[in-house]
């Protein structure tokens, strides 16, 4: 049983995370520029990336929830991946800029340690990220939402970056000025890693990558529960936005009629929808393993029957 408190919290927390990250990012970037701390500036951009990706999700989810029509018979869900590719390409660019800038600073002769105010700002960032991530983890676990848990883990990694930056600023003031740009370099690498891993997963989804093998196994098991289904010829899956599209061919007894085959296919389809709410649509076809060849005497009968039915169809039409 999910407590009412948790449901309410689940509505508030995502908004809180976006607003909190936006405020934090602005605060860190301004203080970073004022105190001359490259580490804090990079960390501010790191907090800002969450806002950017959230905005991208808000825009593209609206588009992908529109109904499929004649022009887009498979829906517009792929726009979510396109948006993600653009957002992560931008992040990759930003991360490269940070890497170039901090490497430049590390190898320059005179580095000034940042003002002590930067240290306090970094500590505020650690606290803010800790609070945001603990709320997110609590709600995500209670409501069993993988998206929220992923978001909270994002805030955890922000916290680690802020810790690295605060240590860098502190040590820079204690006589190791090089450590501030080194902290910026670490944050830049973290942004780059995120951009590459998430960007490549969006690219894979654009090329119609299949669902993982274990998920496909679950789908197959549901279809094979029916004793009429002798096997599965192929199972193609791909993601369109948050939802999955399934294209499956089941093997049934060759002697059954088309009407029966259709009924079985419809039942399997309904079962898949019942079992997996994430499925948007199932294209299900049926076939059999037997192969009629011209040499096969059975082929003659099949061919004659098709001919007869075609004639019947023509007679009905005229």
């Amino acid at each position: 049983m999910i407590a009412d408190k948790c449901v309410k919290c689940g509505q508030v927390v995502p908004v809180m995370v976006v607003v909190g990250n936006a405020t934090l990012s602005l605060f860190q970037i301004i203080i970073g520029i004022m105190t001359g701390s490259k580490g804090l500036l990079a960390d501010g951009i790191h907090s800002g990336t969450d806002v950017l990706t959230s905005l991208m999700v808000i825009i593209t989810v609206g588009l992908s929830q529109r109904k499929s029509d004649d022009k887009h018979p498979w829906g517009r869900g792929k726009s979510e991946f396109l948006g993600a590719v653009f957002a992560y390409a931008l992040l990759l660019y930003i991360s490269i800029m940070i890497l170039i800038d901090s490497t430049h600073a590390i190898f320059s002769k005179n580095i000034h340690p940042p003002h002590a105010a930067a240290f306090f700002c970094a500590v505020v960032a650690i606290l803010a990220n800790y609070i945001l991530s603990s709320y997110g983890l609590c709600v995500g676990k209670k409501l069993n939402s993988p998206a929220m848990i992923a978001n909270a883990n994002e805030n955890r990694s922000d916290m680690i970056a802020s810790i690295a930056v605060s240590v860098g600023i502190l040590l820079a003031n204690l006589g190791f000025p090089i450590l501030d740009p080194v902290a910026a370099l670490i944050v830049g690498l973290m942004i780059g890693r995120m951009a590459i891993t998430l960007g490549s997963s969006a690219l894979k989804n654009l090329i119609d990558e299949s669902l993982p093998a274990d998920k496909k196994g679950l789908l197959e098991r549901v279809a094979l529960q029916y004793k009429e289904v002798k096997g599965i010829n192929y199972l193609h899956t791909r993601r369109v936005g948050q939802q999955a599209w399934v294209d499956m061919e089941i093997i049934i007894d060759p002697k059954r009629s088309v009407k029966e085959g259709h009924a079985i296919a419809r039942e399997v389809r309904a079962a898949l929808f019942r079992r997996f709410p994430q499925i948007k649509e199932v294209t299900i076809t049926f076939t059999c393993t037997e192969n009629p060849t011209v040499a096969n005497p059975a082929w003659k009968a099949v061919s004659d029957k098709i001919q007869m039915i075609t004639n019947k169809g023509l007679n009905l039409a005229t």
Partner: protein, 299 residues
């Protein structure tokens, strides 16, 4: 058709693939050469013209990468193959082109507004003339091929080459005028070239977006597929046809009606006939899903 005509047509076809290959090489060479000389010779217009050549190669490069990937067979991880790589390449390259061109437009406007002109070097003039000649030759070949083979790809190529001839001549004139004292002409021509590049890149971008978004194939194509399926014996009606592209290949999803009393084996035979018929009329048909529903009228 007489054997001589067929022989000529074959010659034309091999000529066509050669024209496209040489066109790509020439455009790449011209782009690199013009960008290099444009920077050294301080001519924004020549840089813009170089970007123009580069944008011509965009779709060719996407096709080459796409063909390379689409040769990889579909596997359990990518059940529909790798064809969509072509669309993604189109989207990414055209975005880069648009960004690069916007930067050049921006800097040209700043130059005109602040009147910080530099006089382009005379070498720019000769490079522009050379480029006009090369593009005129490319135009001659692709225009002839386009007329003989009625190929839309070659027609598009010929059109590009024609624009490149004009743009190179404009750059050459711009250099002469700028050296006579009207310094604003060079950046103004650069802006003109950029507008063309952005237009071309936007078309490629839209094409790529259409492919990645699973846009349906045009109505006429679907009607044609429908009539082919209806021509197969045993098919009573076709309820719906939808088609999407994965690179070169087309994925079809069809709902068709068969007599409910037919056996599954007979339905399979009909389906196999439909598939082989479709693949015979169009060699780009890839995966076909034929959903059979029982026909109501015949009961």
């Amino acid at each position: 058709m007489s054997p001589e005509k067929i022989k000529n047509l074959k010659k034309c076809e091999s000529c066509m693939s050669m024209t496209i290959g040489w066109g790509l090489l020439a455009n790449l060479f011209l782009a690199a050469f013009k960008l290099f000389v444009g920077f050294l010779g301080r001519s924004r217009a020549l840089i813009g013209s170089g970007l123009c050549n580069l944008s011509d190669t965009t779709s060719s490069i996407a096709v080459i990468i796409g063909v390379k990937y689409s040769k990889k067979p579909a596997n359990s991880r990518y059940p529909y193959g790798y064809g969509k790589v072509e669309f993604i390449t189109q989207v990414l390259i055209s975005c880069f082109m648009i960004m690069g061109t916007l930067a050049l437009i921006f800097s040209s406007f700043i130059t005109i507004a602040k009147r910080t002109f530099v006089v382009p070097h005379m070498v720019v003039f000769f490079v522009a003339i050379l480029s006009a000649i090369i593009n005129a030759l490319l135009f001659k070949f692709s225009h002839c091929g386009a007329k003989e083979l009625n190929s839309p790809v070659l027609k598009a190529h010929a059109e590009h080459n024609k624009i490149d001839v004009i743009s190179s001549l404009l750059v050459a004139i711009g250099v002469l005028v700028a050296r006579k004292g009207m310094h604003w002409v060079d950046p103004a021509i650069a802006i003109f070239e950029c507008v063309h590049v952005i237009h071309a890149s936007l078309l490629i971008l839209l094409d790529g977006l259409k492919g990645t978004m699973d846009t349906n194939m045009p109505e006429t194509f679907r009607e044609e597929i429908k009539s082919h399926i209806l021509s197969v014996e045993g098919v009573t009606d076709v309820n719906a046809v939808r088609a999407r592209q994965t690179g070169r290949l087309i994925v079809l999803d069809v709902i068709l009606q068969l007599d409910p009393q037919l056996s599954v084996l007979e339905a399979k035979v009909i389906n196999q006939r439909i598939k082989s018929l479709l693949r015979n009329v169009n060699k780009y048909i890839g995966h076909v899903a034929l959903q059979v529903v029982p026909a109501e009228k015949l009961i």
